[in-house]
Subunit: 349 residues, 4 copies
């Protein structure tokens, strides 16, 4: 079986990374790539690293151009997906890398995004513990999939095992993330200029305003946390690396939980997951070690003096955080081998 | 009055920064610079940016060479100060940039450093709220001063006002820091190589092992926290910028504390402090904006959804974090104008 | 004497750096700062590192606002100066950090800029050897000064002594520059995004199209090169550091020139120049060592195997390359001590 | 056919990259990895990004351990290969990533390395034009191969087509390279510390002392340049990116050569080479676009005003510059498909 695929937003970072992964996918034919203002230009004019796709020309992002494929990836700015999803009614599989279809709560949508609340789709983090299993099961055979927010999936994967096993308390979670600017996309904004980012650590969305907060909360509720018992302090900090998320998350230890029970929560959850790496005790991940890989790598410290479990997780925001999650979801939804075309090894140093 | 000064460890980063500041100090004559393996070489062979000191030659770091000055700065690796401090008995003022004389608790010393516990000296963070005033008063006329740990002073300055005012709860503090590698000194270690740091965020000392933890606890106790009621989760993350600390600290809001009371705690504490900058509501600092400046810049967010106050503070680890603190302490101890030779403006972008 | 000063383009990088230097200038009162779209906002909203100027509010950049000062600095995008210079007829001293008034050759202007050729002003690189002396003499008492292009002054200072002394051949110069993106200004362009610059070396203006080429040629002619005998291959490469230019320039050795004659050319030219540092034989500069300093630091290698003299020069593009040159020119033009408010020491690491 | 492979120096950067490529090679079994001081530790303790090789344990680098494989890769510091190559007499294929066996000229060896001159091996840059063909032919069936120096192969590939076609003059070549520090290996040296490299451009080996100079000269002679007619000014500059070489090389245009002839020299040389990318006129490569790829990407400018052809080439020093070249050579020597396991696409941004 060869799936015909269209990728919109192909001149951007998320679109480019989806294409990088699909370029080595044996069951996929990349038939169409689309963009907005760059339509008509060769793909490699915008993605010069994708040499094996040098034959592709960017077409305009219209429902007509996107129709007629087995799979359509939408890698568009927030709020732009809806106009296409309606028109893609007959497309077997649509995967949205944007935020539009991630949230189930209309209240959260109103508070963090505003405007009409699009219908929620299956959430594309296969390894995420949910009641009675993994999110993976919801993706098998799915036809509409919302790829995760990169920060959200990193934090959710960090905490969900402990929440599901009841060894940490979800009511006082603190997450601080060092993130690279590619997560903000290829948009010409002054605050994303190299001169502003080089040599500096720049916080943003401090104090509970980041849009990934409700997404994390939703994932933790799915993992078993009481919906009224989650409190999350979430602070992202831009640091001078193009890719990568290093999320340091901690939560209070549930009274009475032993070290063995705590460690076992994560070990059990990720024992058979090729793309979630639980490091040995005392070892913690660096973002360099997941660069280019579809892997969330994490280490866990039980800090009895602080009465907290601290999870440090590294993710390549463009791979496991976005494009890899999208391709992994496609594999699951289409009945392909889940790990196809998804790199386990990173590129370091 | 002109003070004659000796700086040991002058070939390293802390020593170099002390010299950079002293070079423009009108009341100081830099008479002696010392080093270990580089003795005999010109200072500028190791600090080529210090052109105005091109006449200085590194001498060996011995008690004899250091003796006979009005002020001696020790910028040596941990554990090496003691041998000199004994021999400098007649030196009017000794300022140690190392950790040896910071901790008052023998228990903490044993747990985090080990070996004989050196006597504690006056702690060199002038703006730090302590019971009934500021640490500054302890520095006036002091003869032996321990300059602070850069991470410790950043976090202590972030939290102490809230602790002192009783608007936050010290028993569940979480601090995550993005830090540049210069804080680790100019020592040739594989994990500090550029190839390891560039493009990567690297956590270290995860889970409560960092030596600045007891120093922060000590500062918060001095600010009024109950000594048995401080719990601190502390995680530093190396990021690819040579200088800078961006500390994101949070603590639970004391029940009943109003937004006005919370904000007022910091406003009151730092209203008259030129070197602690409290940013307007909704504004948070970047490390680029304190580069080269003797300033701790901070912003405060009251996150009611998370029930936490989040303080984001930016410090140049080599200036306000180390050398600037040392020079400011010297000014205070020597009866000079406290702000002399201490830059308020940073170098950006 | 206190000069009243206005700085236009105060929200940008060049304007900000002029202000950083002027902030510590004892003979200057910064009375007016102007901007375009940010008029009405506090200066520190755009230049948060300039704490000592927190009282200033950005005013609109109009001839009326700029009029009535002793000195006006224009730090505007190319082509925007002319409209103000006409209106500033009665201003004693105008210094343009833009390109408009640098070129004397109408032909060069037409070829590299196009449009009407503004009248050339005195060129603001005081140390530049010109026939019979230094460019400095043209700046004393000048009323209209064109601050240099940062790349141009770096390369011109590198080569002019050898050209003036006749020890190198100007007809086959090759310059390759590693440059930081701040030289391109604070404009939101996709190719200047941090994600594009981090981890990458990006050439631009390859093959003889860079606008600083005629400016270098002009400087070398002023230094004594035959106007029809200069050929210059010039390639700038953006590298991931916010500031800095490292220019590697080479030219063939004039037949018969001895090593002593060659070295002497640079030694003689810069012997008494505080802001041009000629490093000892075998030592070459790093951009870190001039960060924040008004210094061009250079080392010279005589490569007999290649038959070329190679000059490696480091400059902070925003200081000696732009703002420092502008302030140094102001000092000269106004009869102040030339070195006032110009840092000799850099900020490293 | 499955080749059994041993990789020495497996804890270093070159060794790690050879393993990253071999990990996806279908015709290879990585049986042995060796190191010096780290022997006995898991490979992933030193190469945490190589998850698919988590089962491998580092063994000591001894002739006994290395013996008995079909292919042995030596990724050792300079001068350490010889002791093993003698003992590997019966090994079918040995590929040395070090410098020991690259130079044919005993005189060059004495001048740039010193000590006994090891015998030269086949040189591992398949695409390099040599008299009557490509270096590739020398690698087919070879049993001893010297992988290239990363800077050398980048510059040689840039210039050889023009030299071979006689459109440029080899007697006045100038190359300036922006290089990442990983090329210097994972050795703990002060000048390679992140604090020294971040935010700075640092030249080294200025003035004709770099050891890759004779290697480039040798390659250009093989391409047809007269052996007494090559002069090369070569200056590498360390810049803050972990990987990558951006080489800007230029040479005088041969009198009478037309633009078409010049461009055709490179087009002809690389028309059928998948791993050398000649960009369209006016387009030049960035190192980000070859990160992780086995590709030398180059653009050519004909600068008539400077009378030079300028070639800008981007290479990932660890891939096409070292490990990729080594694996490509192995493929050729072993009769495998030349392109196996060698990425065409890069990882960007």
């Amino acid at each position: 079986m060869t799936l015909s695929v269209a990728v919109s937003g192909a001149s951007g970072y998320a679109g480019g990374e989806i294409l990088r992964l699909l370029a080595s996918h044996p069951d996929v034919q990349i038939r169409t790539v689309t963009a907005h203002s760059s339509a008509g230009q060769p793909l490699v004019a915008h993605q010069p690293h994708l040499r094996s796709l040098a034959h592709l020309v960017l077409q305009p992002t219209t429902p007509e151009v996107l129709a007629g494929h087995d799979v359509v990836f939408l890698a568009l700015p927030h709020g732009q997906s809806a106009q296409y999803t309606d028109a893609l009614g007959s497309t077997p599989l649509v995967i949205d890398a944007g935020a539009d279809h991630r949230l189930t709560s209309a209240e959260d949508w109103a508070a963090f995004y505003g405007g009409p609340h699009p219908d929620p789709w299956a959430y594309g983090v296969p390894e995420l513990p949910v009641a009675g299993g993994k999110q993976r099961e919801n993706l098998r055979g799915a036809t509409r999939i919302a790829a995760p927010g990169c920060n959200a999936s990193t934090v959710a994967l960090s905490l969900a095992p402990g929440v599901a096993a009841g060894v940490i308390v979800a009511s006082d979670i603190v997450s601080v993330l060092a993130v690279g600017p590619s997560g903000a996309g290829k948009s010409a904004k002054t605050n994303l200029l190299a001169s502003e980012i080089l040599g500096s650590a720049n916080p943003y969305a401090v104090g509970g305003t980041h849009r990934h907060i409700p997404e994390i909360r939703q994932a933790l509720i799915a993992a078993g946390a009481p919906s009224d018992g989650i409190r999350l302090s979430f602070t992202p900090v831009l640091v001078p690396m193009s890719r990568g998320i290093l999320a340091t998350s901690s939560a209070p230890i549930r009274e009475g939980a032993t070290d063995a029970e705590i460690r076992s929560a994560w070990e059990t959850a990720y024992a058979d997951e090729p793309f979630v790496e639980l490091l040995p005790e005392g070892v913690f991940p660096r973002t360099a070690d997941v660069l280019g890989a579809n892997v969330a790598s994490m280490g866990i410290a039980i800090d009895r003096a602080a009465n907290r479990v601290t999870i440090v997780a590294a993710v390549d925001n463009l791979v496991k955080g976005t494009a890899g999650a999208a391709v992994q979801s496609m594999n699951l939804a289409s009945g392909l081998v889940e790990t196809t075309a998804l790199p386990l090894n990173g590129v370091a140093p």
